[in-house]
Symmetry: D2
Subunit: 409 residues, 4 copies
């Protein structure tokens, strides 16, 4: 039999340890910041939390063992990241937050040995933070990567980068950037992007502003950035020139899934908070949790969470098999982002007036979660990609039939 959905003992132990760590240490910390979650307490708190996570043996489960991590594959990351995701501060504590976690993943796969020493090692250890500079304000690269406008031009011994980016998560305070810039072709054409590694801060990197997003708890903000003739030496080209779009895919599929894992923790937490609430409170002479309309919301949460997790398991397994898993990751991301939104919304509704107050974490978790249906590809773009592949397959089949029938169409 080949269907097997159990985790090995060491993974289960890491999950349990992470749950304890979050419940006993991180959530109480998070509570201290109710009212202002901005930057999740900042870098000092980050360093403190990461020290504790190292001591607990749960730090950086995704990082290669030789860089201090647990070397877990996607399937095994899932339950650990979910456990860590329960607190908005958890991913920072475990060093599994965006964008660092995705950058660790990508550097592990693409970076040269020297680059690994210089960039991956300190990042995996939590000694620095990082940024991934791809998204651009309109009319540049957003949901449509081929619109990329930032450019790198050849210069002596390296490249000169100019461009305008925004939504660069964690940029403020990052120790280095991975920058996506066009090295050939024109905006609108696909071919010709390259990834560059650039230590920061650097006078050629201007942090224009923190974009004022509805989610606040990320460290280092979502920044608007300008590159002014930023010089990058040849040895800091990540992978091959002009292969940037392909590498972005290497990063994006798994990064999408780790978002799904972390936000699953948030959604589960919200559900539990709400169930606990309705299991305590009465109205109309009955426990709220025994009323049919509340039960309906509870059950729909249960179903949404189970389906999200099942799709996540499937997509991770495909990625672990080395597949591109474009469909599986788009499906899991789109479904989960929407399901979590529903879960958060129902959880608030279940708690009535209390649900929209700071007395419970629900309203602020909802704010943090809202952008997930847009970040990493809006649901509409994923749906479009899924449909294109499905309809494209049908077109191909019809074309083949027509060919066989000798009828040119």
């Amino acid at each position: 039999m080949a269907v097997e959905l159990r985790y090995d003992t060491d993974v289960s132990e890491t999950v349990a340890a992470t749950e304890r760590f979050i419940a006993d240490y991180v959530l109480p910390l998070e509570d201290e910041f109710v009212g202002d979650m901005t930057a999740a307490g900042g870098d000092d708190l980050r360093v403190e939390m990461q020290g504790k996570a190292k001591a607990a043996g749960i730090f950086a489960p995704h990082a290669p063992v030789e860089y201090g991590g647990l070397g877990y594959n996607m399937s095994d990351r899932a339950p650990v990241f979910e456990a860590g995701g329960r607190s908005l501060f958890g991913p920072i504590a475990l060093n599994i937050g965006a964008p660092d976690e995705g950058n660790v993943h990508m550097l592990s796969h693409i970076a040269s040995e020297g680059q690994k020493q210089q960039f991956l090692a300190p990042l995996a250890a939590g000694d620095v933070r990082s940024a991934f500079a791809m998204t651009e304000p309109a009319p540049g690269a957003g949901a449509d990567p081929s619109a990329l406008r930032s450019s790198a031009t050849r210069t002596d011994g390296g490249w000169k980068i100019n461009g305008h980016k925004w939504f660069i998560t964690g940029a403020d305070g990052a120790g280095f950037y991975i920058i996506m810039a066009r090295t050939s072709g024109e905006p609108g054409s696909r071919g010709g992007a390259t990834m560059f590694l650039a230590p920061a801060p650097d006078p050629a990197i201007e942090i224009v502003r923190h974009v004022g997003t509805i989610d606040k708890a990320g460290i280092g903000g979502h920044c608007e950035i300008r590159f002014h003739d930023l010089f990058v030496p040849d040895e800091n080209v990540l992978g091959e020139v002009d292969e940037g779009f392909r590498y972005a895919q290497v990063r994006l599929g798994p990064a999408r899934m780790t978002h799904v894992m972390r936000w699953l923790g948030v959604a589960v937490r919200a559900h539990e908070v709400a169930v606990d609430y309705v299991a305590r409170r009465e109205a109309f002479g009955t426990l709220l949790g025994d009323l049919g309309m509340i039960q309906q919301m509870v059950a729909e949460n249960v179903i949404d969470l189970a389906a999200s997790r099942a799709l996540l398991v499937k997509a991770c397994h495909e990625l672990d098999l080395g597949h591109h898993a474009g469909d599986e990751t788009s499906i899991a991301k789109t479904f989960a982002a929407e399901a979590y939104s529903r879960v958060l919304d129902r959880s608030i509704q279940m708690c009535g007036g209390t649900g929209v107050t700071d007395d419970l974490p629900l309203a602020r978790l909802q704010q943090e979660l809202r952008p997930f249906r847009i970040y990493d590809g809006p649901s509409e773009v994923h749906r479009w990609a899924l449909a294109k592949r499905a309809v494209g397959k049908a077109k191909k089949k019809i074309h083949a039939e027509n060919e066989r029938a000798g009828t040119a169409r």
Copy 2:
């Protein structure tokens, strides 16, 4: 022909004047407070805006003419309140925000001549603000009014009120309170509430805290309050003793509808912001607004807004006919609150990353709107009431059939 849905000329002119007032004066003001909407700029700004609204001839359209208002009925209030509601600051400027607007409505209907002079006149004129103290923290009166615990006991020449309230909108800084307290019966029994008028501040009224809700733009907060032996003289009993629950209904139906009017303005504004955005921005070589999935969202917004407005028109007409309109107001409130939520959510989604930033007002409008599905009766309570009436009617019919058939069931 008796179906007629046009507004008289004077109403249409008030609407147009309100639209200009909001666009030219209030929205630019609101923009100055991006980043911190708390209390909508405070009482000084309120007074300034109300002066301008008076000058524009659009102040207090709902207040009786003899108290400086326009004397509009519910049907005519609808388009004016919608126009005023486009800005979060608009209702304050026009003196049509909660809870003052509902209190003006109720005092006009129930207060004695003396009470009108003392309380209604300054409230209608914007000289003071007011509060309506009904909701209590669990296990008190929330969605279930009969759970009322605050009590008023007889004392020499009046009443002594003790109790614990929360979500008392506008309480901080209010010039007087309308307080709902139990004067007979026990929590869980329906009969026996009375409304009291109490000037504020008063040492017997303790403002425990501003409850930290997700909506920030109300003036005077949503407060937690304790009454400590608050004395209210007999002449400040509003209406009859023990008739409070009935009066609450007088207030609640119309108040529900004016919420629906004001939030309709917000939803229309959000929709227009998003449509403007997709009519400017391109992706994948096409204008966003020409893409099918975006068109679907645009159309669903259009439908949701039209249906909300149509249900509002119907409910207002029923109220103007003097009907209780329990079904009609529950239907309009429930549908609209959920429809507006969908409209806001889609509008954000249509704008992609920009939608979750402060660069557009959408994300903060969504936050302000979220509680509307809970305040003034959660959707679930309205659905329950609607179903109870529908099933109750069927039960009665079945019972009558059985009676006729001579069969005891």
Copy 3:
């Protein structure tokens, strides 16, 4: 005050008489055909029912008074058609079924005096049935009218029509057809359709088959038709040559609304059947109708029905004012068609196993209703039209701003 939603006394009396007629006479008749609704009992039963409807003074409320009808406008038709629509046989009995009702409407507006005598008079009286031959199988005119392929070419004293149609409701047994054929331009170009009146049967009109649709209860089927050199004399051109697309709009808006009226009757009936069921039956020791999840379905039905009716009232009023009402009719049709589907589905679900049996009419009503989201324009086409207008308005405004700013875009 100009908002008025009451019906005049004579209309209310017609509604009440129609309700009695349906309950006492038509529904028992319908019950005799459970198991095979095909053609609603056929033309003999139609004639019999129409006789009774004439006697009851409720026949053809939409037809001009001079042709034996009640001369009601759209607003007044609404409640009568709803009452008649409760039974699948009701519209046939009242002579207000598709396509005859829409044809009466169009002929009243467009036909010449002679055409009225020859075609409208017997149709309004129920002496003949009619067909409206517009829709074509792919790649002809379907949701996209401009794809029209059937052609009429000039010949001596008239026109010769060739073409292929389907979904021609009521064609089998119709006394005449109104045929839409291209008189200029090419498929894909909008201009150049003409409407023709053609007595039937005629050897040049071939009824290829009854298309096997999921709805069965229409009289005369949904037919596939071929015209083989069908000759139509000049005097049978309806209105002006090449004005067919414009006339189609005259017919389509109101026809859409009368569909919404009739199906509202079906949806209300289904809801009442289901509420009656849950008000009688117990499970888990409780009356079904007192269970929260059932109450939720009841309430959602109530809301969906109210919103559909409110949008219908609005659209009818706009049509009665002589407006094109493209938005209002698209909104009402799209919302109602989807709302009724939800109502039917919930009603079945409320009745559990019994809901999917012939013991209740719900499952067969659902089958009859399903196509309504596709007929008269699929929801997607209406949404597209709504979005196009909304985004188009924004584009125009932006263009005007740009013009004012002196910037060519």
Copy 4:
């Protein structure tokens, strides 16, 4: 690593063989019955098809090897049943239709050796059909099993059964029944049901009628049955006396999942039919499948199918581990039944007018599918069970906390 979602080679081969069998042999057969699917062609066709399935080596994959099956566990059944389920006739051909498949499963687990020889052997071989007589008309056992009214009373050497059942699938023509009857306790009390094996036909078993359900393609109907003093000897008691409710659970979880498997085949087929349609047809100058609103429906189908399959895989795995899997099977059944309904509905909508005709199988598949949200427990009952467990867990935790805190609640 313990997450593994691949099927062993023999299973994959069985799946492929089943797909070929259905495409090449069964679907063309099904097409011959368009217009009247009743009883799927009857028993003669069943025998013929089963002969072919045996020859193809795909017969009875769920039956024990010693009884001629393939002995597959739940996980391995899933893809085979899905492949077989694509045609309404497929499950009959493979002998994996309800109720026989579930009865084989239950007899394999509970029957005595002698009972296996007498009942399981011929059933597994397709020599007879069977019925499972549990559901009763109101006020008997429906969604609430404890309402069981049919009774078995002790008599010489056995039991005498009286009772009234309905929705007894396949009863007409069944070679034996498994009958659930009360052997102790009262309707409304849980304890005390027993399962009995009864050869059929038998004069004491009256088939009152075929209940006229919207789904037609089952063989042997959904029958209303009365037992009149039916004698069952002791050796035909299935398992232990008074353990019937427990055994029902043994049957119901897996039976629910095999429904999910088979209907998944139907949903996938419908989706493919619709995608093929939109990949061929143009409107408004574009291929339907390239229009955004159609792409949205395609993508939502893809997501719904993937999530249904993922939840199914999870539930089957739990069952294979020997767990009760009450949550997992309720989640998978509820989600899938609703998701398939959405898939069918969207598939019809994608095909426009053609979608509601017999020219495509969609409308009739939708009819067959509709009851699945009710049969085997309506969605509402599953949601209620899920919520009860979730809230119950929270209550228990709160109680434990209170205990620890020394506070009696």
